[in-house]
Chain length 210, copies 2
Amino acid sequence: MNLQITKPRRGRPPKVSRENQDTKAELIRSGLEQLTESGFASSGIDQILKKVKVPKGSFYHYFASKEAFGQAVIENYANYFANKLDVCLLDESYPPLTRISNFVEGAKIGMIRHQFKRGCLVGNLGQEVDLLPESFRQQLIDIFHCWEHRLANCLKAAQLQGDISKKANCEQLAECFWIGWEGAVSRAKLVQDTKPLENYFNHFIAALPR
Amino acid sequence: MNLQITKPRRGRPPKVSRENQDTKAELIRSGLEQLTESGFASSGIDQILKKVKVPKGSFYHYFASKEAFGQAVIENYANYFANKLDVCLLDESYPPLTRISNFVEGAKIGMIRHQFKRGCLVGNLGQEVDLLPESFRQQLIDIFHCWEHRLANCLKAAQLQGDISKKANCEQLAECFWIGWEGAVSRAKLVQDTKPLENYFNHFIAALPR
DNA sequence: TACATAATAGACTGATCGTCTAGTTAATTG
DNA sequence: CAATTAACTAGACGATCAGTCTATTATGTA
């Protein structure tokens, strides 16, 4: 599995050895951590670089600006999250509503693992969108639509199995779920407890039309 | 203990009577605008001062630090908001559930008036609480409790009138409302539309146990 | 071998940040 | 009046911000 025998790097070698050969991916990964904890405006490039011991010159070799970097980080997170959603919501070994519950359980575990310091990148940036380059707005809106679509499909599956009413508007329910979910994540961060996620989810499930 | 009478103070008298409320109150008002739009970390003192044309040197005469200033702004907002809630939720000329709807309508109008640039101060600061002085956390949690309490009372009134089930847990419902509400405000800011507030509220009302 | 290019390296710029101190202005008293 | 003291302010301070610049060292290609 470990084919590190890839081509030798071109260019000047790093002074300190890095774990990853792919500096750009390392920067995005580090940026994802930082932005998920601190948002965009409050995250300094220097700090992101420091964590992976990459000099500043390299940053502007790989990214045209902080804005371009931010977009790359968002895109990376969107892909990661969409995949996570698919893993949960398309898992046919569970009934549809249980799959949603599985997603919530995963989120709870994740927040505990990061000691409630990391929320949702999309929610964080959505909050500060007015301070950000305008290009971020549509990017974030599109991501929410993507999530809504995936959740709506899962709800429709529940509908087919008769777990929720045939008359339910699954798209609208999915939209409502994510709207409130961001509030729940934010609150969980604030009180440093998973209860808000739990309460919110239970309320959502109980409110589904049967 | 009380021997301050024996020695009459010389020099320019302190403005104990006025405490120069003008300048200080102006700073808090300007800070409220700024922090509601940009959060705490991204709000510069200079900009807040500039808007009310108070020189920079004066800031640290009125406030010990940016942290202390932030706390004053939060307190101010909490009072303002609690009062707004009381005006809506205690208005007995409407049935209880309609009072909640009135609050939501007011929020929608407010967001339109500020062109979706201002969200909820408590929600904003809750999002970035890990970057803030630790004292902010409990302050924000307490404010949410205050809101929960007020909303729970209104829901109980609805219960008495038979609008919702006697078995409903009003405290928990109220908690859920505010958890999701912050997400709805954030989303409304993002998409620059009141629909998220509307959808969220409709879903909440429809989900109440009857 | 020669040259172009990829990548690292980090000092540097100018702006802005929160904070602080040394000062000025004004009111009161001896 | 002059001394005293509080109210208030101007501007300096070091830190840090995003971003630029030049130099250096490696590989790829001709």
